[in-house]
Amino acid sequence: MPPLNAFVFLSAFMFVTGTVGVLLRRNPLIVFMSIELMLNSANLALVAFSRFHDSAEGQVFALIVIAVAASEVVVGLALMVAIFKSGRALDIDGLSELRG
């Protein structure tokens, strides 16, 4: 069995990968996929610690994270389709009405 450190490091690596993707890419679809990557890495850490503490609570948290991620994807993709239907380019830098 590999040590807990390895699982947590893989989780941190995937989280940083997703963060860099959010900061780097202009395509909002890929930004959404990077957010999925970050949620998945959090799940990996939750399940690893759940096995470490021999308690199923971390797995329940991970299941709820999966449900939240699914609903977030549904709303996000509906937003993409609405933006696309209004005839605008799918570009993070172009969608700046909410800029503070």
Partner: protein
């Protein structure tokens, strides 16, 4: 044995995660994400979370990724001339990313040595019985709140994408 399997699957998960953010075409990025989620399901099996591995494959690799691929095919975005943001932001993001990976490597491996798991998982950990006991006894309210969230998300998606 498990360590070798972990090394292979972890390398697969890390490279497919990089593939998500490095591919120019959204469809290839989505397929990388499918590989990443399947690798995570195998890692869940190694961590004796059998039910969660099945849920991961059904919900993520099944439902969510089908939705992603469907929307990518529907929108069919043009090939981007500039897939990345401004130069300063690219440099800053890569620098911060490398810094955080370095910091987590130092923090996790250099400070206190390795933390090993117990040899065998507790009885019923990750099985549907053990999982359901905790979910319905201790986390009843979050479970109900999740169902409300899913209804709100479905209504919101229909509202946002309705024809005008």
């Amino acid at each position: 044995m498990l360590t070798v399997l972990f090394a292979i699957v972890a390398a697969l998960a890390a490279t497919s995660g990089l593939g998500v953010i490095l591919n120019r075409r959204p469809l290839y990025a989505a397929l990388s994400l499918v590989v990443n989620m399947l690798a995570l399901a195998v890692l869940f099996l190694i961590l004796s979370a059998q039910f969660l591995a099945a849920a991961q494959i059904i919900v993520y690799a099944g439902a969510v990724m089908v939705l992603f691929v469907f929307v990518i095919a529907l929108l069919n975005p043009r090939r981007e001339e500039r897939p990345l943001r401004g130069d300063a932001q690219v440099v800053a993001a890569l620098g911060v990313g490398a810094l955080f990976i370095l910091l987590s490597a130092v923090g996790l491996f250099a400070s206190r040595g390795f933390t090993t798991f117990s040899a065998h998982a507790g009885a019923g950990l990750g099985s549907i019985q053990g999982f359901g006991n905790v979910l319905y006894r201790d986390f009843g309210f979050p479970f109900e709140a999740t169902s409300l969230l899913l209804v709100v998300a479905a209504v919101g998606a229909v509202y946002l994408s309705r024809g005008r």
